[in-house]
Amino acid sequence: MKGAKVSPTVLLLAVLAGAPVARAADIIGTITLKGTPPPEIPITPLMDNPDCAAMYTTAPTTHFYVVGPKGELADVVVSLKGVTGKSTGPGQPPAVLDQKGCLYTPQLLAIQTGQKIVVKNSDHCLHNVHCTPTVPGNQEHNDAQLPGGADLTYTFPKPEMFLRFKCDVHPWMFAWVSVFDSPYYAITDKDGKFVIKNVPPGKYTVEANHRKLGAQTQDVEVKDSDATANFTFEVK
């Protein structure tokens, strides 16, 4: 039998099977704090309100700096700077912001543009949900929410860092929602660690943002393995 002819299609497939494929990877890192932050202060106005004070034995404190024993800094919002138009928000499950114990829980959230954020009132007193965006295109809302009342749902079409939610009935209540135009963001946990998942290969600028300490950036390149970006903030 003479030698069989190989189909060009099969040949192409074989070449492609052997070729290296660039895959998405994660950007991971740890954020630490150097120096001693100012001490947190008690939220004394909360204890002056009978509805709210009934839920506490002592006044809760602020949480501006959540720092671990080795300086691990939590509540830092990490994202890829300048990456826009990649939002998958509309298809994402809604993020949940609750009002419990006359405080917002969690106090820090990150969502995508077009993603729903559902605000609940788990307290026995009424609140007003007042979001105050500063970026044009994101609409300000101020809605009453009675105890046991219906959830309130919002979406924001524009990226914005630390969009503030507040309650004017209880003026110490704040939550900060960061809105991104891509799925590439994370918030550091109590160990100061973050993971931005499934980042396509390429060069990026990673931005770490803390409400009090400002922002830092770092350039990374994502290839076919995880990239690392560590940050150190300093209190002077």
Partner: protein, 422 residues
């Protein structure tokens, strides 16, 4: 002739007194007092950051405003809701006042002042409502400034309808010379003092606007210490310094970060406060020197008034007002310092707003008094028919009245002594 002159004076005095309507006057005084309370109520709303605690208007959480259950007046709602209720009361009082003045006071300019008061109170209500429904924080500054102007207007109406104002200048200069401590003897303030009082009053209003702008930044204290500013005479406002200030701030209620602009705003407020204190002190000094003799004591009994001696035209009113004004400014500066030292305690900050309002209205009323004087002091003999220092009162002698009116400057379109005409 002398008896005729004395008889005419007595008639004029009686006519003025009869024109005084105590019910009207005290109704306006009550309205002014209630307005002062409303200013305090509004101050508490801002001091407690409760301006948006009732999301709807004119309803309150869906209820008719007047039917909102008391059990729900909690937290910031208490301040905002009571402010709206008080404002409704002021609206009612002002409406009654406007109707009363319109139908009972024949003087056109008083009628139009009452209409202005009505328009202002309606405008205030609408501004307050729009600030909430349109989420326009800047409207809060306009709302606060207009409130001060409205307060001045109501106090001015109270002044114009007072017995004291109506009796201004009812006595002849001759009698005034004899009764040098007569409280109704208000000598000419002099153009320099009048201008200074007016300028200082305007400066106080600008300071009020500055203060309102500061309060509506919702950023707490841009500078936490006093009399230094971040430990210096003039604070560092570089980006790095402001970042450091924000990093160190631990605020519970006002969680907006501070900016360089806000720091400069507070420094401007401090400097203007100092300027106001100096100007008010100069006003007081000038007021105490009204009537200081240029030469010798006055001659008596028919020889005409010459250069007034120190015992003539005692400037009691101007002195008292100037001292009161100076005391108010001193208290206001102390309250400003206390506001900073107490980390902007709501009651202290609101007291600061209220004393500021009193300082503004004091200057405004002194302006009215200081400007309500004749163009020149006439030379008067005991039996003269020329007008006294503040114009003739209502008189059945038409020519005398016409001549008198022609000699007086106009205050709000009429002469002070004519205000009580009804």
């Amino acid at each position: 002739m002398e008896r005729t002159g004395a008889t005419l004076q007595n008639f004029e005095m009686n006519a003025n007194t009869q024109n005084y309507n105590p019910w009207l006057h005290w109704f306006i005084v009550v309205t002014a007092a209630a307005t002062f309370l409303l200013l305090g109520s509004g101050g508490m709303v801002t001091s407690h950051e409760a301006g948006m605690s009732v999301p709807d208007w004119p309803n309150t959480y869906g209820y008719n405003m007047f039917l909102f259950p008391v059990s729900k007046w909690m937290g910031g709602i208490f301040y905002e809701h009571t402010h709206r209720l008080l404002a409704s009361g002021i609206g009612l009082l002002t409406t009654v006042l406007a109707v009363w003045l319109w139908f009972k006071v024949p003087r056109t300019w008083m009628r139009w002042l009452s209409v202005l008061a009505f328009v202002l109170v309606v405008l205030q209500g609408v501004l307050g409502g729009l600030r909430v429904t349109l989420h326009l924080d800047k409207l809060g500054i306009v709302h606060g400034a207009l409130a001060q102007l409205f307060f001045v207007l109501i106090c001015a109406l109270a002044l114009f309808t007072s017995r004291w104002w109506m009796e201004l200048g009812r006595r002849s200069p001759t009698r005034r010379e004899k009764n040098s401590m007569d409280k109704h003897a208000v000598p000419e303030a002099g153009a320099p003092l009048r201008r200074l009082v007016l300028f200082t009053t305007i400066l106080i209003f600008l300071q009020l606007v500055l203060g309102a702008t500061m309060r509506h930044q919702h950023a707490g204290l841009a500078i936490p210490d006093f009399p230094a500013a971040y430990g210096k005479i003039w604070p560092d406002t570089s980006a790095a310094a402001v970042a450091r200030y924000n990093a160190d701030r631990m605020e519970v209620i006002s969680e907006n970060p501070i900016t360089a602009f806000q720091i400069v705003l507070q420094m401007a407020h401090r400097l203007v406060a100092l300027a106001i204190f100096i100007f008010v002190a100069v006003c007081a000094w000038q007021a105490w020197n009204i009537g200081a003799p240029a030469s010798g004591p006055a001659r008596a009994n028919g020889e005409g008034r010459k250069q007034a001696g120190p015992e003539a035209g005692a400037p009691i009113v101007h002195r008292r007002i100037s001292l009161f004004w100076l005391a108010l400014i001193a208290v206001q500066i102390a309250l400003g310092a206390w506001t900073l030292w107490s980390n902007k305690a709501a009651d202290v900050a609101t007291a600061h707003v209220l004393v500021g309002a009193l300082a503004f209205v004091t200057g405004a009323l002194w302006c009215l008094i200081a400007f309500a004087r004749p163009a020149s002091q006439p030379q008067v003999a005991p039996d003269a028919t020329t007008p006294n220092a503040f114009g003739a009162a209502q008189s059945t002698t038409a020519n005398r009245v016409m001549a008198t009116r022609a000699s007086l400057p106009r205050v709000f379109g009429a002469h002070p002594a004519m205000i009580g005409d009804q």
